[in-house]
Symmetry: C2
Subunit: 103 residues, 2 copies
């Protein structure tokens, strides 16, 4: 796979803010409604909405609207794609090539 640098940066923005990490923890294990997330987080409603947008833009989280409620969950597709990006970026290479020199 060819890595899309811009897209990759957007994906991993999901994981580089403490509040978003807490939200992902709350979502791990199952779907949750925004109002429930709000109760468990120490932030205002617009701030939660802002973070949920970043999480959805990353593809890691997906939203499902049901009446006036928004239900969020971890996206399997999104996380699979993110994992591929992670794998590409953390390839440690083969040992024989693992030497650089600046003679």
């Amino acid at each position: 796979m060819e890595l899309d640098v811009k897209k990759t940066a957007i994906i991993f923005k999901a994981f580089c803010d403490e509040n978003r990490i807490k939200i992902l923890q709350l979502l791990s294990g199952g779907e949750k409604c925004a109002c429930k997330l709000l109760k468990e987080m120490n932030i205002t409603q617009p701030t939660l909405s802002h973070h949920m947008k970043i999480l959805c833009d990353s593809g890691i989280v997906e939203g499902r609207k049901e009446g006036k409620w928004m239900h969020y969950s971890i996206s399997k597709e999104g996380t699979e794609y993110a994992r591929k990006c992670f794998d590409i970026l953390t390839d440690t290479g083969c040992a024989i090539e693992n030497q650089s020199c600046c003679e």
Copy 2:
């Protein structure tokens, strides 16, 4: 494993900037000297130094000093730890629990 939220945010900062992603791409497949990275990136030397610090702080990259040169490479230990954090945060849970309700 219990997730360290602060540490996790620091780890994934490595992946959420376009220049750092390019650096990781350059490092994938083997160790490289800072001066080589500098030639291939379109940034100044202090900016590269700044990004290398963030990458090393994340644990994803490790540096090795040899004379006046710094050699950087992807850290196997660091990436293994990061992968564990990623796995925890992208657990989609079991299907039976995957429903939330706000009655």
